[in-house]
């Protein structure tokens, strides 16, 4: 390591950026090329230097290069922009000793140990872990992609070398491991998203309630304080024959608000009901087409009722649709304390006769009155004791009086 380097060229036609070889190195390389890149044929005096230079520039493995121009350009391209720096003699020895000691500076002879520690420090600097640990997600992602690539290669019939037998991969296991990652993400996000969605539904539904209250006020003012009623009582017929017979459907009474029109049909559609309709099926329609389309249950109008609306009262006149009716219609066991399906069973809006809408977390009012059931049935069943299910109602029941909240269907 005793060669003198000529300074880089200045001010000629290759300003500054052109690498420069020492004269001795240039001579040695020239000899190497002249010998058709066969080190054995390089003059002995130049051989060591030629070998080092050729090795440095990756020429030994690269194979012969044709033409002097490309030789020179390759050499120049391989060299750093300035002439190659070299380790001091001591550092070079320490590097060899450190490599020999399995990269353990403490096993290097004492005379070289300090410099070996410097090598160790450089290695730690270069090979240290990333300052920010690779996130678990990124890590899992790359591992999954890698495993998928391998699975694809296996499936596409890329044959393994020399007698390796790989049974068919377990597609289900692969699928499950990806699914697990997605599920974890979904399980974190889902409650948040569904809470956001549900609260926006509740807000829209509360807006509907205000529109209905408005419409009720207008209707009763126009109709001699009578609550909306277009049917002539139900007699012995059920009042949940929605879409089949408007004279035997209590929802036709609520539909009257949209028919006249005091409200839009959209005001009677809760966003929590995926089957709700917002425009009439036809101009002649007098009721919803089916029970599923109904979003709100209305006070069961067994007979005309005057002067209920606009009075100070806790009586619930309109509410989110009744789960009790939905079950009873299907002949299922009912659960009187179940909340409306409109809001995932979390509660329901109730529009009371005083014109105010409120959120009820249970269908049982503070008075004990259950809005899904008429008083006589409530009296027969001990709600607290028999939450596990009771005989369904038959759809022929009516409110037991002006104080009895009972809505449907």
């Amino acid at each position: 390591m005793d060669e003198q380097h000529t300074p880089p060229p200045t001010g000629d036609d290759t300003p500054g950026t052109q690498p420069q070889l020492t004269e001795a190195d240039a001579r040695a390389l020239e000899a190497f090329f002249d010998a058709d890149q066969d080190l054995a044929r390089v003059p002995r005096a130049l051989r060591e230097r030629a070998e080092r230079a050729a090795a440095l520039f990756g020429l030994l493995e690269a194979g012969p290069v044709d033409g002097r121009e490309s030789r020179v350009s390759r050499v120049l391209a391989s060299a750093d922009a300035t002439a190659q720096p070299a380790l001091s003699r001591d550092d070079a020895e320490a590097l060899d000793a450190w490599m020999l000691a399995g990269l353990d500076a403490e096993r290097v002879p004492a005379s070289l140990r300090e410099r070996a520690r410097a090598h160790n420090a450089i290695a730690s600097l270069v090979a240290s872990p990333a300052p920010e640990a690779v996130s678990q997600f990124t890590r899992a992602h790359l591992i999954e992609r890698t495993m998928n690539r391998i699975a694809e290669a296996t499936d596409s019939g890329q044959v393994l070398e020399a007698g390796v037998t790989i049974p068919p991969r377990n597609r289900l296991a692969d699928f499950l491991s990806v699914a697990a990652v997605l599920l974890i993400a979904a399980s974190v996000l889902w409650p948040v998203m569904s809470t956001v969605r549900e609260s926006s539904r509740q807000a829209a539904c509360a807006g509907n309630m205000r529109s209905v209250a408005n419409a009720m006020g207008l209707y009763t003012a126009d109709n001699d304080q009578m609550l909306p009623m277009v049917t002539a009582g139900f007699g012995k017929s059920p009042w949940w024959n929605v879409g089949r017979d408007p004279s035997s459907s209590n929802s036709a009474n609520l539909y009257a608000l949209a028919k006249q029109p005091y409200a839009r049909l959209a005001d009677l559609a809760c966003p929590g009901n995926p089957r709700a309709i917002t425009v009439p099926r036809s101009p002649e329609a007098r009721d919803w087409g089916a029970l599923d389309e109904i979003s709100y249950s209305y006070r069961v109008m067994a007979h005309p009722e005057r002067s209920l609306w606009g009075q100070p009262s806790e009586l619930v006149v309109v509410a989110d649709r009744s789960p009790v009716v939905l079950r009873a219609v299907r002949g299922q066991v009912i659960f009187p304390l179940e909340s409306s399906p409109n809001h995932q069973g979390q509660g329901q809006h109730g529009l009371t006769a005083d014109g105010s809408a409120r959120w009820l977390t249970t269908p049982a009012l503070p008075s004990g009155d259950n809005i899904w059931l008429p008083k006589p049935i409530e009296m027969f069943i001990d709600l607290a004791a028999r939450r596990q299910g009771i005989e369904p109602i038959r759809g022929t029941e009516a409110p037991a009086g002006r104080q009895d909240s009972f809505v449907g269907p």
Partner: protein, 207 residues
């Protein structure tokens, strides 16, 4: 953690225990990903090379001699894949010719072909803990300025943790070449490191 050595896992895989391949991928993820990022200086190339390397390993396991060590084999294959990908991207050996070099043009106090004395260069001690983001970027900048063969030999030596003879064996190049290349690589890196550290020390003096 599977207690089996890499080589035992390879044997198990060849007997048909396919699940163990994932163990190898997981075991080497952090180190190999880091190695490839350092080598390529490009995260996308590093990730592609990572996948290609394991694909190649998967296809070549049949011919792997289990009396040899798995780690150097993996890193050698990965380095080859990274080199191929970089070449495809046309990034081969363009960096060092355009890199700003403090002493280029003869204006610096030391000539280009200087001797490096490691004891005069400030290097964070190995027990200093994790690098800061800035130091990390400085290391990468210094590495990016090395020519490709030098960067490769430096990283392979540090990450594979092999002797000269083993490196020579793995790369299939003469022992003398490994030695001289590594010497040159360490010297180059130390020089670039000194330059990027000095740049950081006086960042506002460039006019």
């Amino acid at each position: 953690m599977d207690p089996r050595t890499d080589e035992k896992l390879v044997e198990a895989y060849r007997r048909g225990e396919t699940d163990v391949f994932r163990i190898l991928v997981e075991r080497y993820h952090d180190d190999l990903h880091r190695f490839l990022t350092r080598l390529a200086g490009d995260r996308q190339v590093a990730e592609d090379a990572f996948q290609e390397a394991f694909l190649q390993i998967h296809l070549s396991l049949g011919s792997f001699d289990t009396t040899r060590r798995f780690r150097p084999w993996l890193f050698t294959i990965a380095a080859n894949k990274a080199r191929d990908l970089l070449r495809k991207k046309g990034r081969r050996q363009t960096l060092e010719l355009s890199a700003p070099i403090g002493s280029a043009g003869g204006s610096g106090s030391n000539d280009g072909g200087s001797f490096i004395d490691l004891l005069e260069i400030e290097i964070p001690p190995p027990d200093a803990g994790l690098l800061s983001e800035e130091e990390d970027a400085m290391v990468q900048r210094a590495l990016d300025q090395l020519s490709e063969p030098l960067r490769e030999i430096l990283l392979l030596a540090y990450f594979q943790r092999l002797s000269y003879a083993q490196v020579a064996d793995e790369l299939g190049i003469p022992l003398g070449t490994v030695k001289s290349r590594l010497h040159a690589a360490v010297a180059s890196f130390a020089k670039r490191w000194r330059e990027v550290s000095t740049e950081r020390a006086r960042p506002a003096t460039q006019e």
